[in-house]
């Protein structure tokens, strides 16, 4: 039992409750409290990250019910990395929202914090049904956040998003029911122990359940052919929300990595690597579709939204290579792409506020009044996202391509990844040159001044790309160790023997 584990859940929960009851408090007070909450959250995840670095598993059992009977939270390297990545992203997106976005609604901060709480539960939980509950917590907050802001353009993408995710939740429950009906447990560690011992006549039900789960996670991760809801929804959301949503697809990716290394991993007997032969071609197709989307984007927001699709494909392609190097590279790329895509969403929002009625459309417009900082940030973000040296995208893609072993898979992976880098370079150059260089005569009325929350929020996320390059050694050591830990699923099942409070005396 380690009580630190629930800190990333309790902090946003308490902070969010305070915000709910303080809807009519002065905006300054709400902002200060919100920032304190996300700051504390970041601090607690750093503590967890340092705890997890020793490679052992830490358990928190709710109500002191021993697993597999109670719900457990499990901290390992992967969970700690995801928590830290989300908390850092959450802090800077939250800061950015204080520039302008949070004025529109009294409940913005509460929804934002509840979303962070749902994400943290999803990363920490060691129970399949609790993962469903975590998905619902973060989804209901995301529904509110997606519709946040005035104007009617969000209603229809929001409706599509809600209906799709409700169907996804229904399928999740079906999968959970199928797996439970045979195994009699939903604790992930217990499932990893039970599934290899199942009789052959019971396997088809578990196999079907596992495949349906994969469909649900692929819907969250926006893998082809379940990807088409993403660009519209992300392009319609306000900037800090879109930045936070950059991590939403990664929750689906995280769930795939967790469930298909632990429950259906190497040790799963007849069901080892269930569905992975589907993931690889679908991931490559997702990258190709993302490239087409990037080239065809009419607005900068849509462009970055398609960038998110490309990144999901890249992560899953690297993961489905099914070797340790591929998994490590996938995690390295995941951290890089989440921060950079979120930073780009924020930079694009700053661009849109400088261009009057042209907003984020890729068309010629009068020269932007405050362009120096924004254009440098856009260039850094674009260079990093396309994977040009010397920024983090280059190293991430290099690691992924290194991980492929010679063969057909390597040829396909190299071709698609190199091509995607080239095509996204073309897309960003085209967008950047039109937006920044091709100016027409005219005057912009009331361009937005650069404010502290905007410059620091967006600047810090883009600067993380440089930070990743500086800390590339420690980070790749960490992801290597994470991949090694994930490969050894039998160690995870040791949490079933974790001692509860009060058992120490006996």
């Amino acid at each position: 039992m380690n009580h630190w584990l629930i800190a990333p859940i309790l902090i946003p929960l308490i902070g969010g409750f305070l915000q709910v009851f303080m809807g009519y408090a002065p905006l300054r007070l709400r902002r200060t409290l919100g920032l304190i909450t996300t700051g504390l959250l970041l601090a607690s995840t750093i503590i967890l990250l340092m705890m997890a670095a020793d490679g052992s598993y830490r358990v928190y059992a709710f109500g002191n019910w021993a697993p597999p009977f109670g719900i457990v939270m499990v901290l390992d390297r992967l969970a700690a990395l995801m928590l830290f990545m989300t908390a850092l992203l959450g802090l800077f997106s939250h800061l950015y929202s204080m520039g302008r976005t949070d004025v529109d609604s009294r409940q913005f901060h509460a929804l934002f914090l509840f979303q962070l709480m749902g994400l943290n539960i999803a990363f920490l939980t060691g129970d399949l049904f609790n993962l469903f509950v975590a998905f619902e917590v973060l989804l209901i907050a995301s529904y509110g956040l997606l519709l946040h802001g005035d104007g009617k353009q969000r209603t229809i993408p929001g409706l599509h998003y809600v209906v799709l995710n409700l169907i996804g939740s229904a399928m999740f429950l079906v999968a959970v029911g199928m797996i439970y009906s045979v195994t009699g447990t939903l604790n992930m560690a217990d499932l990893a122990v039970t599934i290899p011992t199942l009789a052959a006549d019971k396997l088809p039900l578990v196999e079907a359940g596992g495949m349906i789960l994969l469909v649900v996670f692929a819907l969250k991760a926006a893998l082809i052919p379940l990807t088409f809801w993403l660009p519209k929804a992300y392009a319609a959301a306000t900037a800090p929300v879109a930045a936070l949503f950059a991590v939403m697809t990664k929750v689906g990716v995280y769930a795939i990595i967790r469930v298909y290394t632990l429950i259906f991993g190497e040790n799963a007997g007849a069901l080892a690597h269930l569905g992975m032969d589907w993931i690889f071609p679908l991931a490559l197709l997702t990258i190709v579709l993302g490239m087409i989307g990037m080239i065809g984007s009419a607005g900068l927001r849509t462009l970055v939204a398609w960038q998110v699709v490309v990144s999901v494909g890249t992560i899953l392609a690297a993961f489905s290579l099914l070797n340790e190097a591929g998994l490590s590279a996938a995690l390295f790329y995941l951290v890089h792409t989440t921060w950079v895509a979120a930073g780009l969403f924020l930079v694009v929002d700053m661009i849109a506020a400088q261009r009057g009625s042209a907003t984020d459309k890729i068309v010629t417009a009068p020269r932007m009044p405050n362009r120096t900082f924004i254009s440098v940030m856009f260039m850094l973000g674009a260079v990093s996202a396309t994977g040009l040296p010397p920024l983090s995208g280059f190293f991430a893609k290099l690691l992924i391509m290194n991980a492929a072993t010679p063969g057909v898979a390597m040829a396909a992976l190299w071709a698609v990844i190199l091509l995607s880098g080239f095509i996204s370079l073309v897309a960003y150059s085209r967008a950047g040159s039109i937006v920044f260089w091709r100016n027409v005569e005219g005057h912009i009325n009331n361009p937005e001044k650069l404010t502290f929350p905007h410059t620091v929020g967006a600047g810090a996320l883009i600067a993380m790309s440089i930070a990743i390059v500086v800390a590339a050694g420690p980070l790749s050591d960490y992801t290597d160790a994470t991949a090694e830990q994930l490969r050894d699923a039998s160690a995870y099942t040791s949490i079933l023997d974790a001692r509860m409070v009060g058992e120490d005396e006996s």
């Binding site: 529904y143 209603t155 209906v163 169907i167 939740s169 429950l173 079906v174 029911g177 009699g184």
Partner: protein, 126 residues
């Protein structure tokens, strides 16, 4: 009992999927509701069907599995909240776009006055 139970789940899911694929928001919301009914019944059956069983040890000879009951209870609560949200959202979409089409579009080939007096009811095939 098993056959009747399975048929009910199948019928609910069939009707739910059919309605979700309609182009108007109201059938879609009803379809989501039916789908969640079917799913909840399915989840309930994962603990095996029995009559007279009790989930408490020592109370009876026949035990029923208490966990699926707890799961279904959670799923019902969550599904109920989500449906309420979907209804409100569908109403807002109707108010914002003057149409209950799921894509928010209205037919453009009708004369101007017909759009206001008599909203088109045909499917647009999307």
């Amino acid at each position: 009992m098993e056959i009747a139970y399975a048929l009910i789940i199948g019928t609910l899911t069939f009707a739910g999927v059919y309605l979700v694929l309609r182009a108007r928001t109201f059938p879609v919301v009803v379809g989501l509701t039916l789908l969640s009914y079917g799913v909840n019944l399915f989840l309930f059956s994962s603990g095996r069907l029995m009559t007279g069983g009790q989930p408490i040890i020592g109370s009876t000879e026949v035990y029923s599995d208490p966990l699926p009951q707890a799961l279904v209870l959670t799923a019902i609560v969550i599904g109920f909240a989500m449906t309420a949200f979907a209804v409100v959202l569908a109403l807002r979409a109707k108010a914002d776009t003057d149409d209950d089409h799921v894509d928010g579009t209205r037919r453009t080939d009708l004369p101007e006055e017909a759009k206001h007096t008599n909203p088109p009811r045909e499917e647009t095939g999307q």
